[in-house]
Symmetry: C2
Subunit: 130 residues, 2 copies
Amino acid sequence: MSQPNTQESCQAEHTSACTVREVLDRVGGKWSIGIIIAASDGPVRFTELERSIEGISRRMLTLTLRHLERDGLLTRTVFPTVPPRVEYVATEMARELYESLVSLTGWAQRHREAIAAARDAYDRERGLAG
Amino acid sequence: MSQPNTQESCQAEHTSACTVREVLDRVGGKWSIGIIIAASDGPVRFTELERSIEGISRRMLTLTLRHLERDGLLTRTVFPTVPPRVEYVATEMARELYESLVSLTGWAQRHREAIAAARDAYDRERGLAG
DNA sequence: CCGTATCCCAGCAGATACTG
DNA sequence: CAGTATCTGCTGGGATACGG
């Protein structure tokens, strides 16, 4: 959720590294992806999200929702009823983003074991000898 | 660079959100992507990286290199010469990862203005009235 | 129901100095 | 050259309590 240093440090020429980081700065937060997914199938209410996300605190839910809304990834709709009713839904832009992100899952699944093995090896070398 | 809460909170059923987060936990750090790219075209030395990355500190360079090496994304080769010579090169796995990440640049470029506009609108509403 | 406010901490990250 | 050590600040994020 750190939105600082993106624009100023990306001076056009630095290739795509900066562009990738721009995206990561927006959805790299711990809960962003989960929320986008949950709000991709249609409007969801605050409390629904709170229950379905599992482990998220009220505070982080609100904060992340605000960030995503600010970036135009989520649309917030308030129904002036009592008790209040607020619905969030992923924008088209957000759904496209998620599609792009999903290509990462293929990579993750293909290499999950290799990563674990690398870690094991690394930790053994550093753990015993060094 | 936060590698905690990935495995324990991903209990199989939670869809791809967790998988995406696994990747993000490994490569979401501020400098990871830049380093992977720099080490994708062939071996690079420590000081080369330090100069080409622009803005990175010695400390963060070392830390990020260690993380990436631990996850099997970078290969570290030490030449026992004097002065010492250490080379880093992206593994095949890392290059594949980067290919996947590049699909994000398309999204970012298509929506960069929309995001900026959304932010402007959001900030205006909150800044003046609210 | 849908938040905000406050306190607090861990971990990322910068600056600087020292070493094999 | 290629790091490590130390000190410090900042912010993401958890816990809890309160408010419209």
